[in-house]
């Protein structure tokens, strides 16, 4: 059964809520980052919500996804909790990765979320592997790789598609073509007009769809999932979309014009879906606005939780390296003087 059935009114409302949650999460993350509250760097998914939510809605709850450096939206779409995500952005102990991953590495393997990923193009081989695992165990699971248009130029992406196609694995390759690979327009990075033509090289179905339309994404992924589960192998989907923010927060964006941004903003996946629901009588304008307010409140509470959550103990830096720890970690940890000037907690053996 799909994760969110957007053919029902309840499902439509939930899909809208999920997109709003992503928007609010990333708006808040952007502000907190600018305020110096969140360390490192953040890449926001604003503008692309229809792709993540449409795709994850069509997947079943046990299915796997791999994500990208722009992963907050995929996490929320897959059902991860904003509170623990925000705590991770803050580097707090209660974050999804106990503060060891941050924005670019949020993961929840039990929920089928195999990680945001700081390496462009690294997700597809992992998705092929998850699909291989599912096929070998004869599980009713598929693996969907989200990756950007920039990743289509990476060799390992093509290797992953070739393997999945050759072995008829239950995988879905979903390119979020947001028109820019970092700061360079897509047409300066690829010779193909539509990136979905890539599929022809692997003799698998390939489609380019409107990624600003959540239902188009939902239908394409539902069909691809069906094909994957029937043993007919992977599908390559290109969702045309746009990131309303820069590549990273703080990006001066010399590579594009305000007019272009405004044109795409007029096709905002959240606003357009909300108007459709209002037109169809599923929701009233007031209901849409109160849903937005509810979501904003939830995200504000998540941020407050994260701000007040505990920092990890410095000695946790030595945990989680291995399933069975090695003597070296104890030996060398004992030589590290705490940042606060305190003594090493471990003694050299």
């Amino acid at each position: 059964m799909v994760s969110i059935d957007i053919e029902t009114e309840d499902g439509q409302k939930e899909a809208l809520r999920r997109m709003m949650l992503i928007r609010s999460f990333d708006d808040t993350a952007g502000t907190l980052f600018a305020d110096g509250e969140i360390p490192g760097f953040v890449h926001l998914y604003i503008g692309e919500e229809g792709v993540g939510v449409g795709a994850c809605a069509a997947l079943e709850p046990d299915d796997y996804i791999t994500s990208t450096h722009r992963g907050h939206g995929h996490c929320i779409a897959k059902g991860l909790e904003p509170q623990s995500m925000m705590a991770e952005l803050y580097g707090k102990r209660d974050g999804y990765c106990n503060g060891k991953g941050g924005s670019m590495h949020i993961a929840d393997v039990d929920a089928g979320m195999l990680g945001a990923n700081g390496i462009v193009g690294a997700g597809p081989p992992l998705a092929t592997g998850a699909a291989l695992s599912a096929a070998q165990k004869d599980e009713d699971r598929v693996a969907l790789a989200f990756f950007g248009d920039g990743a289509v130029a990476q060799g390992q992406v093509h290797e992953a598609i070739n393997l999945a196609a050759t072995w008829d694995l239950p995988a879905i390759f979903l390119v979020e073509n947001n028109q820019f690979g970092e700061g360079t327009p897509v047409e300066k990075q690829h010779n193909l007009e539509n990136l979905s033509e890539t599929a022809e090289a692997y003799d698998i179905p390939g489609f380019t769809i409107d990624g600003m339309d959540i239902t188009a994404v939902y239908e394409a992924v539902q069909e691809a999932r069906e094909r994957a589960r029937n043993g007919d192998g992977p599908t390559f989907i290109e969702a045309d979309t746009y990131r309303f923010r820069g590549h990273f927060e703080g990006d001066q964006q010399p590579y594009r014009e305000d007019d272009d941004i405004q044109e795409w903003q007029s096709r905002c996946p959240i606003d357009s879906f909300a108007s459709r629901l209002v037109d169809a009588g599923v929701m009233t304008d007031d209901e849409v606005e109160s849903l937005r307010a509810e979501v904003d409140e939830e995200i504000a509470a998540a941020a407050e939780y994260a701000q007040n959550a505990d920092e990890p103990d410095p000695t946790e830096a030595y945990d989680d390296m291995y399933a069975v720890s090695v003597p070296e970690l104890t030996m060398f940890a004992g030589r590290s003087v705490r940042a606060d000037g305190g003594s090493p907690t471990n003694t050299d053996q």
Binding site: Y96, P125, T128, G129, A131, Q136, N162, W167, M321, A323
Partner: protein, 335 residues
């Protein structure tokens, strides 16, 4: 495989080669756990380019012995994804020189996922790959690269020097929930020795093995150079008592065994086929210095490839490859 059997320390053993030991380790672990599977180039129909996996396809079928395209980044990455989702892959990289094209998935995914995810994933993958010169395969098929992996946090690296070590360590590697690189020196596949027959025989990763006891000099060796060092020790037997240790595990490294030996002999030769600068030798030497400096009677000696690639012409190749004669010369310099 020889059917000749014997006993060592009261346990039944049989004589087998390193190649057979590796094949049996895979066979036994695949029988024991249905989540274990093997994939790589020519591992199935062809039986492995060095004949190591010969017969496994017939026993386990193509779902569990998977021939892959020549696509190391793709299938090693798929191994990582499979390991994160409940499988226990053994991935063969035909020559370790090919690891260059698969390093991204190794260093940024396999090695880091557990840590980056706060411990919330398993990574039970074993990567088997061949190393070493000696067969005229030239620079791109003869390298010894294990130091890269022993250096990289998040990876376990082992490099056996005997059939028993090969079998026991590979079984432990496959059972481990951590990523293990298993380095096979291709020149010792035919080397034979006694191997315990117990299907639950494993060797703990992180323990070196004293292969020959001695009092005057310690040789800490890996892979092919374990046999070469034992030969050197034998040749010097009438004049010197040489201890030979098979390091077995590059990371974690058994500091205690090597320091105990240093304390006994005061003189150490480190013999490993890595290029010498920044090689495995350097870490072994650092551990000895840090933990046994005052037991040293002479500066330790390093035997390895003298910072060249492996040349093709046999006369050139023999020049740079370390052998028993090099170990003997190093021992003589120390005594």
């Amino acid at each position: 495989m020889s059917t000749e059997t014997g006993t060592t320390h009261g346990k039944s053993t049989e004589t087998m080669t390193v190649r057979e030991a590796i094949r049996e380790a895979m066979r036994e672990e695949m029988q024991r756990d249905e989540d274990v599977f093997l994939m790589g180039e020519d591992v199935g129909l062809f039986g492995g380019v060095f004949d190591v996996s010969n017969g496994l396809l017939e026993d386990f079928g193509e779902e569990r012995v998977k021939d892959t395209p020549i696509s190391e980044a793709g299938f090693l990455g798929a191994g990582v994804g499979a390991a994160a989702t409940g499988s226990r892959p053994i991935v063969e990289i035909m020559f370790s020189d090919f690891m260059g094209v698969a390093m991204e998935q190794t260093m940024n995914q396999m090695a880091k996922m557990r840590y980056m995810f706060g411990g919330k994933t398993e990574m039970p993958i074993t990567v088997r790959t061949t190393e070493g010169g000696g067969m005229g395969a030239a620079s791109q098929h003869s390298g010894t690269v294990h130091t890269w992996f022993a250096h990289f946090p998040g990876i376990i690296a082992v490099a056996p020097g005997t059939p028993a070590a090969a079998k026991g360590l590979l079984k432990s590697a496959i059972r481990s929930d951590d990523p293990v690189f298993f380095f096979e020196n291709k020149m010792i596949y035919e080397q034979s020795g006694e191997v315990p027959t117990d299907p639950d025989f494993t060797l703990p990763i992180g323990e070196a093995s004293v292969e020959r006891e001695g009092d005057d000099v310690t040789v800490i060796a890996t892979q092919r150079l374990v046999g070469e060092s034992l030969q050197a020790a034998e040749e010097l037997d009438s004049e010197l008592s040489v201890e030979v240790i098979d390091l077995r595990s590059l990371y974690p490294l058994d500091t205690e065994t090597i320091v105990d030996s240093l304390e006994k002999t005061g003189r150490v030769v480190i013999a490993d086929e890595s290029p010498i600068s920044y090689g495995t030798h350097a870490e072994v030497m650092a551990r000895l210095m840090e933990n046994g400096f005052y037991s040293l009677d002479a500066p330790p000696e390093r035997i390895g490839v003298p910072d060249t690639h492996i040349p093709f012409s046999p006369s050139l190749e023999q020049e740079v490859l370390p052998s028993a004669a090099d170990v003997t010369a190093a021992i003589r310099r120390l005594t």
